[in-house]
């Protein structure tokens, strides 16, 4: 029972972590919360469903399709809703937040219109492969989800700290104007960031579809809120914080159900936020001036 719940918790936590990574990346560079991230995640899941069940594509191709579509969405998000608001006089710093909320409403209703309101099944033979260890069954998908989340975290950390593009990104995050004076093409960097974050949302979407076999137009909302809770918990704009926060939330939700009352499951994220804001407002891994992101 304990082991099984541990596996459940880690799976859920890894998914939360991947979603939160996308949030944290955009926040780290642009300093805004991308409210459309949950919906981009949902679109990624739907692309997975459509390509595998309707078009019958193999899974790896579905992954690529999902990454491409969400990447394009990320580009459009930046180009149409974020860039026009950036650096203009008289535009409130809340304006980009509001415009991403608009995008999230648009995407949710669009997919509602196209795919209908209910849950869509995600049929994939890959999701059926399982390993039995003693009395517990572990699905290959669960292992893959955990592995992908770890890989993404390590990959992002290395990319941010070692590569030129990563350094440019951090410079942009530090100070947009200075970075551009120093020869960083900040427009390109910001676009790249939003595209990468969105593509990670797409990956998370397809993984959730496989793990839980349920994809619906409303799935983005709750995932988005959880992602938000996690980056507050782990520290805004912090990659390690997103990962740790995701796992903490996934595990605590699962164990609350296992040993307590399942009715309080969704409350735990917000109870945690209250405590973290009181005790350590910058988040577990955050510092007063965020660094190392």
């Amino acid at each position: 029972m304990l082991l099984e719940q541990l596996v459940n918790g880690i799976t859920l936590g890894s998914i939360y972590a991947i979603v939160a990574l996308g949030f944290t990346l955009v926040f780290g560079v642009l300093g805004i919360i991308n409210m459309a991230h949950g919906e981009i995640f949902m679109v990624g899941a739907f692309v997975g469903v459509m390509t595998t069940s309707v078009l019958g594509w193999p899974l790896w191709l579905a992954f690529i399709a999902s990454i491409v579509v969400t990447g394009i969405l990320g580009y459009l998000l930046e180009r149409i809703t974020l860039r026009p608001l950036r650096g203009k006089k008289g535009v409130s710093h809340l304006a980009p937040l509001i415009s991403t909320i608009g995008v999230s409403i648009l995407l949710e209703n669009l997919s509602h219109h196209i795919f209908g309101a209910g849950n869509q099944p995600f049929r994939s033979s890959f999701a059926e492969i399982s390993i039995e260890i003693g009395s517990i069954t572990i699905y290959l998908v669960q292992i893959v989800i955990f592995a992908i989340s770890i890989l993404l975290m390590i990959g992002l950390t290395i990319w941010l700290s070692k590569t030129k593009a990563g350094k440019a990104l951090r410079a942009t995050a530090e100070n947009l104007e200075t970075a551009s004076i120093l020869g960083v093409d900040t427009k390109k960097i910001i676009t790249l960031t939003v595209i990468i974050a969105s593509a990670m949302g797409g990956i998370a979407g397809i993984l959730v579809g496989m793990a839980f076999n349920s994809v619906s137009p409303q799935m983005g909302l709750s995932m988005g809120l959880k992602g938000l809770a996690i980056i507050i918990l782990g520290g805004m704009g912090n990659v390690k914080g997103a990962m740790a926060g995701g796992l903490i939330l996934g595990l605590s939700e699962t164990f609350l159900v296992a040993f307590g009352d399942s009715g309080y499951r969704d409350a735990i994220a917000f109870i945690m936020i209250i405590f973290i804001l009181l005790l350590r407002p910058q988040g577990i891994f955050g510092s007063k001036i965020a660094e190392g992101r």
């Binding site: 719940q5 799976t11 069954t137 159900v257 399942s262 009715g263």
Partner: protein, 390 residues
């Protein structure tokens, strides 16, 4: 308590009458105008009426509103084609929220041309809207509202949805009879009046039947991961799982349960009874037992025809909610014919007298308080199809 409520409502009605009387001076003019309008229509032979519909069209449960409005539109088309009455539907969205449902319904109630209301979809919403409709003297019918105490709200409140307190015990008795179940586990959505009401009926029935409850778990609408709850249920080793869930969540729960190795039958409430459950869960849906008035695979020519027409028009098979909505509009049309005029009070009286109306769901009558009189069929999903439970 109930007496007290009745009395308060009574007093409020009297007060309302005074207020109405005070206002009548201004409203007479429009009143006569609309009456003369009715007369000309009657002269031409068809009786016209506007019916307000409040339905759950956007949000997590929009699938229900979609089925309901599609059922209504199909019925409307057929009824208007027959030519005896002409029904116009005015559809409003409730978004699954009680306050939105109420404001949508108030908008409809304030329109004098609206004869009666169908909906809202969820019992939670209906419980907010119905007392208001009753006070305003506008007939209202619930097509998907299954909790206890709906028609008891007032004289103008009706339903044609079979209550959970009828459907669930019937299904549980048959399931226990066949499987010899001793231990049961419960899982239910704790944020909705229907699934909560269903759970209460399940728990009560389980206790009455002397079954041991090994686990009681909850979930919320739109959740996608049920593994934690199901692992707990699995460890209790139940012989039956009683799942008070709407099909959208219920089907995913069954899928995850089967993957985890919970192979026992599931007993569900009204909200679980939909071909969509099979669509979503596939093979995992086998072994679901539900009590319902609606049997989509029935060879009753009325049902077969309805299935064909519905699929041709909307591209998918109808579920219980579409069928109940379809029947509800026929019940309204029938009452309207008997009433002979589009007047709310005359219409209500005619509606209350509905008896032995042959609908999709079988022979239909209202009892003295406006609740359903109907037989329950117990169905089970076997090899990816709903069949009658043996």
């Amino acid at each position: 308590m109930k007496v007290l409520v009745r009395k308060t409502i009574g007093i409020m009605t009297v007060l309302m009458l005074f207020i109405l009387a005070a206002c009548s001076g201004t409203s007479t003019e429009t009143g006569t105008e609309s009456e003369s309008g009715d007369n000309t229509e009657q002269a031409s032979g068809t009786l016209s009426a506007k019916i307000g519909v409040v339905s759950y069209l956007t949000g997590a449960g929009a699938a229900y509103g979609e089925a309901i409005t599609q059922g209504l539109k199909l019925a409307q088309e057929e009824i208007n084609e027959q030519g005896e009455v002409n029904i116009e539907l005015v559809i409003e969205d409730s978004a699954g929220e009680a306050d939105q449902a109420l404001s949508a319904a108030q908008k409809l109630m304030n329109d004098d041309e609206i004869l009666a209301i169908i909906g809202p979809t969820l019992s939670t919403e209906f419980l907010a809207v119905a007392p208001e409709a009753d006070l305003n003297g506008i007939p209202i019918i619930g097509t998907s509202t299954t909790v206890d105490g709906i028609p008891e709200i007032g004289d103008y409140v009706f339903r044609n949805a079979i209550p959970e307190s009828l459907a669930i015990p019937a299904a549980m008795e048959k399931a226990v009879e066949r499987t010899n179940a001793k231990k049961v586990a419960l899982i239910y959505g704790n944020d909705d009046a229907v699934t909560k009401g269903g759970f209460e009926v399940m728990e009560r029935t389980a206790k009455e039947m002397g079954l041991e409850i090994v686990a009681t778990e909850t979930f919320q609408k739109g959740q996608s991961d049920y593994n934690a709850q199901l692992t707990k249920i699995k460890n209790g080793n139940p012989d039956l799982v009683l799942a008070s869930a709407l099909y959208n969540e219920g089907a995913v729960i069954m899928d995850q349960a089967r993957k985890m190795g919970i192979d026992v039958p599931f007993v569900g409430g009204n909200g679980f009874n939909s071909p969509q459950a099979i669509e979503i869960a596939g093979e995992a849906a086998n072994g679901l037992i539900v009590g319902t008035p609606w049997f989509g695979e029935s060879d009753d020519p009325k049902v077969v025809e309805f299935n064909e027409k519905y699929e041709a028009k909307f591209g998918k098979l109808p579920d219980q909610f579409a069928a109940q909505a379809y029947d509800a509009l026929y019940i309204y049309a029938d009452a309207l014919k008997r009433a002979g005029e589009a007047d709310r009070d005359v219409f209500r009286d005619a509606l209350a007298e509905t008896k032995d109306l042959e609908g999709l769901l079988g022979n239909f009558s209202f009892d003295e308080i406006g609740d359903v009189v109907m037989d329950v069929t117990v169905l089970e999903i076997k090899d990816g199809k709903f069949v009658e439970f043996e």
